[in-house]
C-alpha cells in the first residue's frame, strides 16, 4: 500500500469571502467523494487551509502545505491578489497547482508560471466576445459602464471596451465604484436615461444592492443592464427579486446550462449541499478533474513533479459541467462563453443561456505574441 497522495487546497473560509471559498471547496469535495478519494490506485488525502483572502496569509498557508504537509499538488485560491502573491513561491518550489477561480489576466499572461495551470478563466476572456455580441446581437451602440474599482473590474471592462469599440460602439462614461460602497445612489444619479445599456460588474452583496437600487431609482425599465456574469451568479441569484430579470451577462458557466453533464452535476451538488451550484462550485469540481485525470494517467506515481506537471497540462478531462475545455500553452483554458439572461422559471430565477460562443481563448482573436506586448487592461 503506497502512502496517500496529498493535495493541498486553500481558499478563504473565514471573513467576507468565506461563502465563495466554501462553494469552491464543496465542488472539490463532491468530485473527490465521487472518486471515492481514490485515483491511480492511491488514496487521496485533501488538506484544506483557510487563506482568509489575505495574500500574506495565503503565502504562509502555501508554505505550510508545501513544507510541513509536503503536498504533491495544490488547488486554490479565490482571489487574484492571493494568487499573484503565492505564484513566485509555487514557482520556486515547483509544485503543480491549479487555479480554479482567480482570474487576474496576467496570471497566465505576462507573469505566468509553468507550474500554475488555470482551469477557470481570465477576467477579460468572457468579455471579448461579449463586447461584439452586445454590439451586433443586442444592438447596443451607446453604453456606460459601472464596475467595482479593482483589477477584476478593470480587466473585465477593459476586455469588453476593446471589442465593443472596435465594432464601432461608444462608451459614454466609465464609473468606478470602490468596494466599500453600499449606497450606489451617487453613481446611479449619473446614469443618463438615453443610453442603450449599462455594462456592470459586481459581485456578491454589491450585485444584490446595485440591482435593487437600480430598480429603486426607476432605471430598470429605461436602461437595460448587461454585464459580467458574476453580477447574477448563482451565489447571489436566489437572494434577488424581480429587479434581476432581464439582466444579460457573459460567463463560462451557467447553473441553468442545459447539458446532461451539468444536469447531473447540478443534481448531485444540490443533493449533497442543499444549494444551487454557482460557477464557484463548478470551478473546483472541474479543476479537480485535471488533477485526478493526471493521477490516473500516471497510475498514482506523482512523485516526479515534472512528469506530474506535464500530465496535468496534458490532461483532457471530459464531461465537465461547463462543456469542453482545452488548456492553451500559456496554461489557460480555451472554453465556451455563455451569454445568459436572468429569467424566472417555475418561480425561481435562473441564468438562461441565450447564446453559446464556442472555444474562446484568453487572447480572443488576437495574436498572442502581439497581445502580450500591449499593457494589461487598467482603469
Amino acid at each position: 500500500e503506497r502512502p496517500p497522495i496529498k493535495i493541498g487546497f486553500m481558499v478563504p473560509l473565514s471573513g467576507a469571502n468565506a461563502q465563495n471559498g466554501r462553494d469552491i471547496l464543496n465542488g472539490f469535495l463532491l468530485l473527490l467523494e465521487e472518486a471515492g478519494y481514490q485515483a491511480g490506485g492511491r488514496r487521496i488525502q485533501l488538506i484544506v487551509e483557510d487563506d482568509e483572502g489575505i495574500p500574506a496569509v495565503g503565502l504562509t498557508k502555501a508554505r505550510k502545505l508545501v513544507e510541513r504537509d509536503q503536498v504533491h499538488m495544490m488547488g486554490g485560491p479565490l482571489l487574484a491578489s492571493s494568487a499573484y502573491a503565492i505564484a513566485p513561491y509555487i514557482h520556486a518550489q515547483q509544485i503543480p497547482m491549479v487555479y480554479p477561480v482567480a482570474s487576474g489576466d496576467d496570471l497566465t499572461q505576462r507573469r505566468r508560471s509553468k507550474w500554475i495551470v488555470r482551469t477557470g478563466y481570465t477576467s477579460s476572456q468572457p468579455n471579448h466576445p461579449f463586447g461584439e455580441y452586445a454590439y451586433h446581437t443586442l444592438g447596443h451602440r451607446r453604453i456606460a459602464t459601472i464596475a467595482l474599482d479593482y483589477a477584476f473590474g478593470w480587466e473585465s471592462v477593459g476586455g469588453f471596451e476593446r471589442t465593443f469599440l472596435e465594432q464601432g460602439g461608444q462608451i459614454t462614461k466609465k464609473l468606478w465604484v470602490p468596494l466599500s460602497v453600499h449606497d450606489f445612489a451617487p453613481y446611479l444619479a449619473q446614469v443618463s436615461r438615453d443610453l442603450d445599456a449599462v455594462y456592470v460588474l459586481f459581485i456578491g452583496r454589491t450585485a444584490l444592492q446595485f440591482l435593487r437600487q437600480y430598480q429603486e431609482y426607476g432605471l430598470k425599465d429605461r436602461v437595460p443592464v448587461i454585464g459580467m456574469g458574476t453580477t447574477t451568479d448563482e451565489h447571489v441569484l436566489p437572494a434577488m427579486g424581480d429587479e434581476a430579470i432581464g439582466v444579460t451577462t457573459a460567463l463560462h458557466y451557467s447553473g441553468a446550462l442545459d447539458t446532461p453533464a451539468n444536469r447531473t452535476f447540478s443534481a448531485a451538488y444540490r443533493a449533497r449541499f442543499k444549494r444551487v451550484p454557482s460557477y464557484y462550485s463548478e470551478s473546483m469540481y472541474s479543476g479537480g478533474k485535471w488533477l485526478l485525470t493526471a493521477i490516473e494517467a500516471l497510475k498514482g506515481n506523482v512523485e516526479n513533479r515534472d512528469v506530474l506537471l506535464d500530465a496535468i497540462r496534458q490532461a483532457q478531462p471530459t464531461g465537465l459541467p461547463r462543456g469542453p475545455v482545452t488548456i492553451d500553452e500559456y496554461g489557460n483554458p480555451v472554453e465556451n462563453i455563455y451569454v445568459r439572461r436572468v429569467e424566472r422559471v417555475n418561480g425561481v430565477l435562473q441564468n438562461t443561456v441565450i447564446a453559446t460562443l464556442p472555444n474562446v481563448s484568453q487572447f480572443w482573436k488576437y495574436n498572442p505574441v502581439d497581445y502580450l506586448k500591449q499593457p494589461l487592461y487598467a482603469r
Binding site: A189, Q190, R205, R212
Partner: protein
C-alpha cells in the same frame, strides 16, 4: 437643479442611516466610555435576525421587533457579565468588544452562511416619488423621517429628563453616581442594551437597501465611528451633525470627484480632528 435636489436627498438618506447606526454607538460611549467594536455586529445581527423572523412569519413588524429585542438582550448580557468588570479600564473593554465582534462574525457565518440577502420593502413604501426629473424612492424618504424622529426622541430624553441627567452623572463619575442612589449597574446595562437595540433597528431600516452579508459588521463600523468622531464622542448633537456632514460630503464627493471616492469618507474626519482634536461637539 434636478441633480442638486437628487444628490441632496441622497445625502440626507445617507445621513439618516448613518445617524441611526451612530447614535447607539455614541450613547454607549457617552455613558460608559466604551469604544464598542461590536457595534457593527449588533447592526449585522439585527438584519440577520429580522431576516430569519420575516422568512418564517412574513411580518416585517415582527421581524423588526424580534431583532431589537434579541440584540438588546445580547447587549445587556454582554455589558452585565463581561464589560462591567472593566469599568475603569476602557482598553480592556474595547478589547472585549473586539473579541465579541470576532465571535459574532464567525457565529453569523456559521448560522446563516455567507450568502448576501436583502430585506423586503414594506408593501406601502414600494415605488418612488417622481417630481419632474427627480426620482426618489419612498422608502428612503421614510428612513429620513424615522431617523429624524429617533433623533428628537433621544435628544429630549437626554437633555430634558432626569434620566438624562442621571445618565450623564454616571458618565462623569460612576462611583459617585451610585452613592447618589443611582443603580449604575442596571442603568449601564440598559443603556448599552439600548445602544445595541438602536444598532439593530438601524440594521432593520437599512435592510431593504444594504441587506445583510458576511463582512457587513466591519464594513459599517468605521462609518459609525467616522460620524461619531466628527461630531464628538458621546454627544448626541454631534452624532446628528456628524452624520449630516459625513453623509453630504460622502455623497457629493463620490458624485462630483469620483476619483477621490476612497477618500471622501475619511479625509473630512482627518480635517476636522486636525483642526479640532475632540470633534465638532466633543469635550476633552
Amino acid at each position: 437643479m434636478t441633480y442638486l435636489i437628487t444628490q441632496t436627498l441622497n445625502g440626507l438618506f445617507s445621513a439618516a442611516l448613518l445617524f441611526l447606526i451612530a447614535s447607539g454607538l455614541t450613547l454607549a460611549f457617552g455613558v460608559m466610555k466604551i469604544v464598542n467594536i461590536a457595534h457593527g455586529s449588533f447592526y449585522m445581527l439585527g438584519v440577520y435576525i429580522a431576516y430569519t423572523v420575516i422568512l418564517r412569519t412574513q411580518s416585517l413588524l415582527l421581524g423588526a421587533a424580534a431583532a431589537i429585542v434579541v440584540v438588546s438582550a445580547l447587549g445587556f448580557v454582554m455589558q452585565r457579565f463581561f464589560l462591567r468588570r472593566f469599568g475603569n479600564d476602557p482598553l480592556a473593554q474595547m478589547m472585549m468588544t473586539m473579541g465579541f465582534a470576532l465571535l459574532f462574525r464567525d457565529a453569523t457565518l456559521m448560522i446563516w452562511g455567507g450568502d448576501p440577502f436583502t430585506l423586503q420593502y414594506p408593501g406601502w413604501l414600494r415605488g418612488s416619488m417622481e417630481a419632474g426629473d427627480v426620482v426618489f424612492p419612498y422608502y428612503r424618504l421614510f428612513v429620513i423621517v424615522v431617523a429624524a424622529l429617533v433623533g428628537v426622541a433621544l435628544w429630549a430624553i437626554n437633555e430634558k429628563t432626569l434620566l438624562g441627567a442621571r445618565l450623564r452623572a454616571t458618565v462623569d463619575d460612576p462611583e459617585m453616581a451610585s452613592a447618589m442612589g443611582i443603580n449604575v449597574t442596571l442603568l449601564s446595562g440598559l443603556v448599552f442594551a439600548a445602544g445595541a437595540g438602536l444598532a439593530a433597528f438601524g440594521g432593520v431600516m437599512g435592510g431593504p437597501i444594504l441587506g445583510g452579508y458576511a463582512g457587513l459588521d466591519f464594513d459599517l463600523l468605521p462609518l459609525a465611528f467616522v460620524v461619531v468622531i466628527v461630531g464628538g464622542m458621546g454627544s448626541l448633537k454631534g452624532a446628528f451633525v456628524g452624520s449630516l456632514v459625513v453623509g453630504m460630503i460622502d455623497n457629493y464627493g463620490k458624485a462630483l470627484v469620483p476619483e477621490l471616492s476612497y477618500f471622501t469618507l475619511f479625509a473630512p474626519m482627518i480635517l476636522v480632528l486636525a483642526l479640532k482634536p475632540t470633534g465638532l461637539y466633543g469635550r476633552a
